[in-house]
């Protein structure tokens, strides 16, 4: 088909016109694209840049190292030990099961740990390192390192984990740390992001939890670049963590060890306080447990063993245990009567062996009675009737007032778990709590530290310290924090005349040293170190009239948990008091036989600063004491390796 040239020209012209129009449209659209690019890359660039940064950058926390806890001489009680672990990275491992089997041929790992690791592995991305086993020995790590080339994806690693080198001695004071539980998180109002880190540990009981905020420190941060899958590509910057504050406790590790060891066969608690500063130098609660078990995750068998033990090893008897103080309370009754002027300093009271109030007869522990008793005699021989009389005269409310001044019924604020307030009853208290009127008999029971009265060894030690000094001694447990000494609290004098106080002190001296003293056997004979004390025996059962008639059953014939508690409070040296002590031996029988001897021994250690020389003991006891020390598991005193203050 031929076409005339004219048509060809016409067609070409049309195509050219349309082509130019189309080209123009295309150019227009390109202009639109250019404008869009300008809008995004220039006008809105900043917001997109921010989004890109958010995509790219992730913050990771660096857990801080926990503060170290030292004793008063700089011996580490709680420290961070290297924890050797095996880490597995799934994506680097060819066959997970086979690799784990190979590792287990080299290192002993429990099934439970493997299961946990496998579960974790399935949950996480393949590049996340998972702990296969921890708390390994150096030998295990060495073995793994040698075989590392044959085990791709397996890395031996070292982390920090809490360690309590003194084991059982400080279990109740320092407590332990453990992994963060959901309950822990629920209790916190402003949860620290750190708590979200798996394997992060926080204090669970004792100083570890009460001073958690000081010990924990502040997390550092790492700004890291991540890709879309979450894999860490590189570290962009790092803000190092602030380590937790180191703490120095007032406890003397040697004395604590001695007290624990001395009481270890009993269910007992003992508190030693420095009367000049209020420093608690020992707070022993026996039996104890190894806090390291809890850090590693205690087995249910071990835990049940601790829980079902009659001696309650998990229970801190020094602050958590409250007991009727028994006769150790009599100084309060006597002092209250003296202060109120209702009983003269030398006034005598006849003890026939009982007192009848209303239709009830209240017995003295001595069936035949003590005869004429003044305050000094009454304390020395622990006559009950004298104090029945004194309490009746002074009244329960005035007595309670004095008790609070001496720290009984007071919750001394210490960084310890489950501190009990005890109880000093008043008429108001009984009306409020029991909706019953106060009976004269209640006063009599209270007068000898029975009935409603409850106090903890800590409170009794504070009472003894205040009796020794006449000042408001305030107990404290933390000596310095972060290398700075904490000031000793102001100790104003108590509202007691020194002559009246001296009478009580003298009577307590007689208890320990007098011819008829109930604790004479547990005296200190070293010159200038004499002890003044008071025994106490508190009943945990009612003695019926019938039983009394046929003769009270002796303690050693009763089952253990029905025997009396033995108590003892004391201070020494008598002339220039330095330490006060309170000891409870649960179901130990009488105070003079169960609580006074260990108290004396512990006080002597405190006074000498080491295992006391035999010269301090009465001559006839030296052989037995020596044998006892031989048998006891006493750790020699430790020397501080580094200064407790941070370098």
């Amino acid at each position: 088909m031929r076409r005339p040239p004219k048509e060809t020209e016409q067609a070409a012209g049309l195509v050219t016109r349309r082509g130019v129009v189309l080209g123009g449209l295309q150019l227009g659209f390109m202009g639109l694209l250019g404008l869009r690019m300008r809008q995004m890359q220039v006008t809105e660039a900043d917001s997109y840049r921010l989004l890109a940064e958010e995509n790219r950058i992730n913050m990771r926390l660096i857990p801080p190292s926990r503060g170290i806890i030292y004793d008063r001489h700089g011996i580490a009680i709680a420290q961070n030990a290297q924890n050797y672990r095996v880490i597995i990275v799934r994506e680097d491992v060819e066959d997970v099961d086979e690799t784990i089997a190979k590792v287990r041929r080299l290192v002993d790992i429990e099934d439970r740990q493997i299961e946990r690791a496998l579960r974790e592995m399935n949950r996480r991305s393949p590049f996340v390192p998972i702990t296969l086993a921890d708390q390994l020995s150096w030998d295990d790590i060495a073995e793994l390192s040698i075989n590392a080339p044959a085990l791709p994806g397996i890395t031996p690693d070292v982390g920090l984990s809490r360690e309590y080198p003194l084991g059982v001695d400080f279990a109740h004071i320092v407590g332990y740390v453990g992994p963060v539980s959901d309950r822990d998180l629920a209790q916190l109002q402003t949860p620290d992001l750190l708590l979200q880190i798996p394997e992060f540990q926080i204090g669970k009981i004792g100083v570890e939890t009460k001073l958690e905020s000081r010990l924990r420190g502040k997390a550092g941060t790492r700004r890291i670049e991540v890709n879309a899958g979450g894999r860490v590509m590189r570290e962009l910057s790092r803000d190092d963590y602030t380590p937790g504050q180191d703490l120095q406790l007032t406890i003397d590790h040697g004395l604590q060890n001695y007290a624990q060891a001395r009481l270890s066969t009993e269910s007992a608690g003992s508190v030693v306080i420095d009367v000049e500063t209020g420093d608690l130098v020992a707070m022993a609660s026996a039996p104890s447990f190894d806090p390291n078990l809890f850090v590693r995750g205690i087995s249910s068998k071990d835990y049940d063993g601790l829980r079902n033990n009659d001696y309650k090893p998990l229970f801190n008897k020094t602050v958590q245990g409250v007991y009727p103080p028994g006769s150790t309370f009599k100084m309060m009754t006597g002092l209250a009567a003296l202060r109120a002027g209702v009983i003269g300093p030398g006034e005598r009271v006849w003890c026939p062996g009982h007192m009848t109030v209303g239709r009830r007869r209240f017995h003295c522990w001595k069936r035949g009675g003590h005869g004429w008793m003044n305050l000094d005699d009454a304390i020395t021989q622990s006559c009950d009737v004298y104090f029945y009389e004194a309490a009746q005269r002074v009244g329960i409310d005035k007595l309670a007032e004095l008790c609070h001044e001496f720290g009984l019924g007071e919750r001394h604020d210490l960084p310890l778990s489950a501190i009990e307030e005890g109880l000093i009853p008043t008429t108001k208290w009984k009306a409020r709590m029991r909706d019953e009127p106060w009976l004269p008999g209640d006063t009599l029971n209270s007068a000898i530290g029975q009935g409603f009265v409850l106090s903890s060894p800590l409170q009794l030690a504070v009472m003894a310290a205040r009796l020794a000094t006449g000042r408001e001694v305030k107990p404290r447990l933390v000596k310095s924090a972060d290398g700075l000494e904490l000031p000793v609290a102001d100790m104003p004098p108590l509202n007691i005349s020194s002559s009246q106080l001296r009478m009580i002190q003298k009577a307590m001296w007689n208890v320990s040293n007098g011819r008829r003293g109930t604790a004479r056997r547990s005296r200190i004979v070293a010159e200038g170190l004499e002890m003044a004390g008071k025994t106490g025996t508190s009943q945990v059962r009612n003695i019926t009239a019938a039983e009394r008639a046929r003769g009270v059953t002796r303690n050693d014939q009763l089952p253990w948990n029905r025997r009396d508690h033995g108590l003892f409070v004391a201070f020494a040296p008598y002339d220039k008091p330095k330490y006060a002590i309170a000891t409870i031996v649960e179901h130990g029988g009488g105070g003079s036989s169960a609580a006074a001897p260990p108290s004396r021994d512990i006080l002597l250690y405190a006074l000498y600063g080491d295992v006391p020389p035999l010269e301090a003991y009465p001559e006839d006891q030296r052989e037995r004491i020596s044998a006892m020390h031989e048998e006891m598991d006493i750790r020699p005193r430790l020397k501080p390796e580094t200064k407790p203050s941070r370098a």
């Binding site: 088909m1 031929r2 076409r3 040239p5 048509e7 060809t8 020209e9 016409q10 067609a11 070409a12 049309l14 195509v15 050219t16 349309r18 082509g19 130019v20 189309l22 080209g23 295309q26 150019l27 659209f29 390109m30 694209l33 250019g34 869009r36 690019m37 300008r38 995004m40 890359q41 220039v42 809105e44 660039a45 917001s47 997109y48 840049r49 989004l51 890109a52 995509n55 790219r56 670049e225 991540v226 890709n227 879309a228 899958g229 590509m233």
Partner: protein
């Protein structure tokens, strides 16, 4: 033959033809391809052999293919246009019946040595067929309804086949490509006005069909449209591509983050970073300067094509040149609109830059046709 009406003797012969090749277009194509090599190296984290090397080899082969096609007289290509169309059409049928399914779509034919996408070939053969048709059709019949039907069918039938694969991007390109050639051929404006109105009606129908038995497009295509309309509705799901792509592009700023410094692409936030979304890496690493440069390169190619077509008295050659330029334009315009969030994600590569053998070879062969039309154009005196 229209060509013979003009003066054949003015057309160069033998090796002299090489001098008459449209070198600006050849150089611009090479420049665009080089941008591609650079970006493919960047997204591979500096590894040349990952994608860039293969792309270079394909380009070298494609460039020679372009020159070879250019040396063959344009009247030969005109004469085989119908056959080429039928061949591509046949291949599309083969894909439909026995194609290889990859990534959920049946687009590839296994040729033994390599897999091949017939729909890529179809884009060019459709342009050839339409150009030949209008070259054959007397001018006064161009806008007559009866004579409008054949080119419409030539366009719609392969479009439907491709849509069925399913490949929405290529279908749009075929439809638009066919339409643009018809527009250049001089078909009356009114047809286009009617088609655009009809198209809007169809879009309405598509949306109206949603959830009914006669749903016209697949659910994932609906989701892509939703995502396009509001990417933030599903930032980690279907909207992820668009959101991340916009972040990459926007964060580039004026001059970009520098070669291989694009955090979005290097850290794998970008999807399909070596294929459909490669422009975002360019815009992220070289900023608006880099993005505009590529846009200008493409624009210059289109400009030189229009210039060449306007000087060409041969109707077939001119239409072919304009049609291929329009195809190139559609490729990059749709791709860039998509990554800038102006169009839904439809899976259209960036021509000569995105990694992909078939597309590159076909496009270079198509520019061989443009060159042939240029070399053999009847000179106007």
């Amino acid at each position: 033959m229209t060509y013979l009406v003009n003066q054949v003797r003015t057309v160069p012969t033998g090796l002299r033809k090489v001098l008459f090749v449209n070198w600006p277009i050849a150089l611009l194509l090479t420049a665009v391809a080089c941008v591609g090599f650079l970006m493919l190296t960047s997204v591979a984290g500096g590894e040349v052999d990952r994608w860039a090397e293969r792309q270079m080899k394909v380009f070298a082969v494609g460039f020679l293919l372009m020159l070879a096609v250019a040396m063959v007289p344009i009247w030969f290509w005109r004469s085989i246009s119908g056959l080429a169309y039928l061949f591509a059409f046949g291949m599309l049928i083969v894909v439909e019946t026995s194609g290889v399914v990859r990534m959920g779509a049946q687009r590839w034919v296994d040729l033994g040595v390599t897999v091949f996408q017939p729909s890529e070939l179809m884009k060019i053969t459709l342009v050839m067929a339409l150009a030949a048709y209008y070259d054959w059709l007397p001018l006064q019949k161009t806008s007559r309804p009866l004579w409008v039907i054949p080119p419409v069918l030539l366009t719609l039938v392969p479009t439907a086949l491709v849509l069925k694969q399913p490949d929405l991007g290529t279908a749009i390109l075929l439809l638009a490509g066919g339409g643009l050639v018809m527009f250049c051929a001089g078909v009356s404006w009114w047809y286009f006005v009617a088609v655009i109105a009809g198209g809007l009606g169809l879009i309405y129908a598509v949306f109206a069909s949603r959830g009914t038995d006669w749903q016209l497009i697949k659910d994932y295509q609906f989701r892509r449209i939703d995502t396009f309309l509001d990417p933030s509705s599903d930032p980690l799901g279907a909207g992820y591509n668009i959101t991340q792509s916009k972040i990459a592009l926007g964060s580039g700023g004026w001059t970009g983050k520098g070669f291989m410094q694009g955090t979005q692409s290097r850290l794998n936030f970008l999807p399909e970073k070596h294929t459909d979304f490669i422009f975002t890496t360019l815009a992220e690493e070289f900023g608006m300067v880099g993005g505009m440069s590529l846009l200008v390169l493409y624009g210059l190619i289109v400009f030189f094509c229009v210039l060449s077509a306007s000087q060409n008295k041969d109707r077939f050659g001119a239409l072919l040149t304009l049609g291929i330029a329009a195809t190139l334009f559609l490729f990059f315009a749709v791709n860039m609109s998509m990554v800038m969030g102006l169009a839904p994600v439809v899976g259209v590569p960036l021509p000569l830059v995105s990694f992909g053998g078939t597309a590159m070879l076909v496009l270079l062969a198509a520019f061989g046709l443009v060159q042939s039309a240029h070399v053999h154009r009847p000179m106007t005196r």
